[in-house]
Amino acid sequence: MGKLFAITIVIIAVLSAIPVVMNYWGPPPDISTHGYAIDEQMHETMWEAGLSFLAAQFVLAFFVWSFAGKGKSDKLKDFPGGAKWLVIAALVFVGTEILALGAIGQKAWAAVYFAAPEKDALTIQSQAGQFAFYFRYPGPDGKFGTPHPDKIDEGNQNFFGLDPENDVDSRDDITAAELAVPVNRQVNLTMHSKDVGHSFYVRELRIQQDYVPGVDLAVHFTATVPGKYEIVCTQLCGLGHYNMKAYLSVLSQEDFDKWLKDHAAQ
């Protein structure tokens, strides 16, 4: 039965690796300026983790194959070098991996989170609530009106709780249920939660960030490929969580200007 165990493990290990090697279900192509570093990091880690996985399973299979069913007539032997060299191997190999991945990975993380947004980045406000995303553009004056939670009135399309009667800045604000951004221009997306925790996730953009109630955050990114992509909520937010989504439209500058004009007219 030891041999059966060994064969089973080898088959499972190889079958597990095939979809990854063949890239059946890999991430979609990256459409951001920072994403290649994340993809690179993932690729490196896949190699290291994948080889460790296969090596450990094969060694387990080999030893079980070789030593299962040995009886009293077979001499007990200890692994050459004993525990000492295994400990040293773990410290050296895993230690090196950690330092390498940690050092390289820090750059990928820093590109998203440590760099301040560029001065001419386009600021867009986003608000997440049960169970929809809304986006707000400052309009021609370049200024956002102040939101008032108590004035939120979804029936009248006042998703952000604006007060155009008293607040001049809010009068030309453009609100949409879709996030349109110009291609190749940095976007600084501010994030506000209306009610509970939500999250903003666009696979192609390699961006995921929680909305924290009571704390307004921001992420910045530059989309490089025009197209339409799904934004989904990844923080459990209630019964409609599975259905909370919006679209990201990456447009050429002209299309984006036109989009703004059309939405301003609405």
């Binding site: 499972i12 597990s16 279900w25 991430p27 570093a37 994340i38 990091q41 993932m42 880690t45 290291e48 983790a49 996985f53 399973q57 387990l60 030893f63 079980v64 070789s66 030593f67 069913g69 040995k70 009886g71 009293k72 007990l76 032997k77 200890d78 692994f79 295994l86 400990v87 191997a89 773990a90 895993v94 991945l101 940690g102 990975g105 993380w109 998203v112 989170y113 440590f114 049960q130 939670p149 108590d150 209306k194 009610d195 509970v196 925790g197 999250s199 996730y201 390699r206 961006i207 995921q208 924290v212 109630p213 009571g214 799904e230 990844t234 459990l236 937010c237 209630g238 019964l239 599975y242």
Partner: protein, 589 residues
């Protein structure tokens, strides 16, 4: 020197013997029984979830009886899916993965393995179990309250869990019951872990030095130290959550929240505070589940290999460092939570560091197999399966420990695959190994080996078929905690989900074989001799099952390290810890 005998005499009534028992062995069995009930409920809930994911509009016969609103006509609603998900996670993490490997086996065997007649505080011990039982009933009560169980997940993130029924169904009374249940569970676990620590430190028999304790005893001891600190933080967190819900405080709720068209009457709280408190418990909890399994598996492997591990000390040191590091990594659950992004790097480093002791343990297990006389039994198959699962679940942790990769993989099925393999399946393999190995001692009857092996093969292959594809779904960006996949990019992944669901039914069915074997052999299995596996530790010196006072009033004396197997010049190929037989240090090449 064992002093616990003075605390209680032999049980005199049925209730004293089997219900409110002071005997650590009966309490261990009670914990095991409770975990068994919880695991089958938890598994049934996972079946319902898997069924709903791939056949969202199909009716489950009879389910409407359990919840008229949650499953009208037997069809599971999106919110009931979330209720099932919350209850599945809570039952499995608290009432199965904490109870079975730690509280059940630990209670039964820790005192015996160190040569004590009972726990240091038998009454506390009884209280721990019955408090846990109350927590269990309170949690299950959420199924029958009008708006059903909570929908906020086992992590109960605030403010969803804190603002009450405005935020959705199940967040009224159901969420209250959840908070109360977990708070009670924390009290029970604190009592239990104190008892384990005191027993280990104070009641060891003559000659039983700390380094002569078996590896599983060490694992239970380290786990109780972890549990003492972890549950001590979760308890106040639950109390604060309950206060936010019923007393109008604002620990976790900030100002200005507009939930369901109502401004919430709270201000000044922080949702991140809940996440910090929860994960300060939550991450060590992973090790509360897995460390006892590591100990049990080591104990069984050594017995099956007929030789000790390459280094007793290195194994214990690795488990200690895992326990220590487990307190420095909770923030890796929160890389994208909005906490300061610099702290992500601070939490990432110790998370990656944990790989080192985990790798050392794996290499020691693998290296020890070399040159052994490995006996294949149901117990040793599950122990070997544990190593395979632990490796498979462990390597995916390498991805999630890196904040930059977490940006893509966080909250996807990759995470679900990772923690199910490493903390769920691996820990449960430890429980199964322990069951096949120790049940003869606990019940006095041998279990059926053939059925045990059939159970292993179905579970081993089945578990891989369920949890490996989860990783592929995650790589494709499939988001977790969705009751159906309405998104353009997730819909094409449905065939993978179908495969997983079928595998889940198959693997679940295999557990019925286990249940049958367990119950049948409890009553009809052949009588177990005192030491059926030729094992060296103290539990095998006594009859199966042991008498109420374990050693029959005699104080055992320990002469040897725990794992004297394959000793040259000895009468057998092993020497019991209590045997006065003198031996040479084994020399092998």
């Amino acid at each position: 020197m064992s002093e616990a005998a003075a605390h209680h005499g032999p049980p005199t009534s049925f209730i004293g013997k089997y219900v409110f028992s002071l005997d650590h062995k009966i309490i261990g069995l009670q914990y095991y029984g409770l975990a068994l009930v919880a695991v089958f409920i938890g598994m049934f809930l996972s079946w319902l979830m898997r069924f709903h994911l791939v056949w969202p509009n199909a009716a489950v016969p009879g389910l409407a009886l359990l919840s008229k609103n949650g499953a009208p006509g037997g069809v599971i609603t999106p919110e009931y899916y979330l209720s099932l998900l919350t209850m599945h996670g809570t039952l499995m993490v608290f009432f199965v993965l904490t109870n079975a490997p730690f509280a059940a086996f630990g209670n039964y065997f820790l005192p015996i393995q160190i040569g004590a007649e009972d726990m240091a505080f038998p009454k506390f011990n009884m209280m721990s179990f019955w408090t846990t039982f109350v927590a269990f009933i309170v949690l299950l009560a959420a199924f029958v309250v009008p708006d059903g169980p909570p929908i906020s997940g086992w992590t109960a993130y605030a403010p969803l869990s804190a603002v009450g029924s405005d935020a959705g169904p199940g967040l009224g009374m159901g969420q209250n019951l959840w908070g109360i249940s977990i708070a009670i569970f924390c009290i029970a676990s604190l009592l239990g872990s104190l008892n384990f620590i005191a027993t280990t430190l104070d009641l060891r028999a003559k000659g039983m030095t700390l380094m002569r304790m078996p590896i599983c005893t060490w694992a239970w001891f380290i786990t109780s130290c972890i549990a003492l600190l972890a549950f001590a933080v979760l308890l106040p967190a639950c109390l604060l959550l309950i206060l936010d819900r019923v007393a109008g405080t604002s620990f976790f709720i900030p100002a200005g929240l507009m939930v369901n068209d109502k401004i919430q009457p709270h201000s000044g709280g922080s949702p991140l505070l809940w996440q910090h408190l929860f994960w300060f418990f939550g991450h060590p909890e992973v090790y509360i589940a897995i460390l006892p399994a590591m100990g049990i598996v080591s104990h069984i492997l050594i017995n099956s290999m007929r030789k000790p591990l390459l280094s007793h000390k290195v194994v214990i040191a690795s488990m200690l460092s895992i326990g220590f590091l487990s307190y420095m990594v909770w923030g890796h659950h929160m890389f994208l939570s909005g906490m300061n992004p610099f702290s992500a790097l601070v939490f990432s480093f110790p998370t990656l560091m944990i790989t080192i002791p985990a790798t050392i343990l794996t290499l020691i297990w693998l290296g020890s197999l070399y040159g052994s006389r490995l006996q294949i039994t149901a117990a040793s198959l599950f122990a070997l399966g544990f190593i395979s699962m632990f490796v498979s679940g462990g390597v995916s942790g390498f991805f999630l420990a890196q904040p930059s990769i977490d940006i893509y993989l966080h909250a996807t099925y990759f995470v679900v695959g990772h923690f199910h393999l490493v903390m769920g399946v691996a820990a449960i393999f430890g429980i199964f190994a322990g069951t096949y190995f120790w049940m003869p001692k606990m019940t006095g009857h041998m279990m059926n080996e053939t059925l045990g092996k059939v159970h292993f093969w179905m579970t081993f292959v089945g578990a891989y078929c369920i949890f490996m594809p989860f990783h592929y779904l995650g790589l494709a960006g499939n988001v977790r905690r969705y009751s159906s996949f309405v998104d353009d990019f997730m819909a094409p992944l449905l065939p993978v989900h179908k495969f997983i669901t079928i595998a889940a039914f198959f693997t679940g069915a295999a557990q019925l074989i286990f249940l049958y074997n367990l119950i049948y052999s409890r009553f009809k299995g052949p009588a177990a001799p005192p030491n059926p596996w030729n094992c060296t530790s103290l539990e095998w010196t006594m009859p199966s099952p042991p008498p109420w006072n374990n050693f029959g009033g005699v104080h055992p004396v320990v002469y040897h390290d725990p794992y004297q197997y394959g000793v040259e010049g000895a009468k057998e190929d092993f020497i019991m810890q209590t045997s006065p037989e003198q031996v040479k240090t084994p020399v092998r090449s």
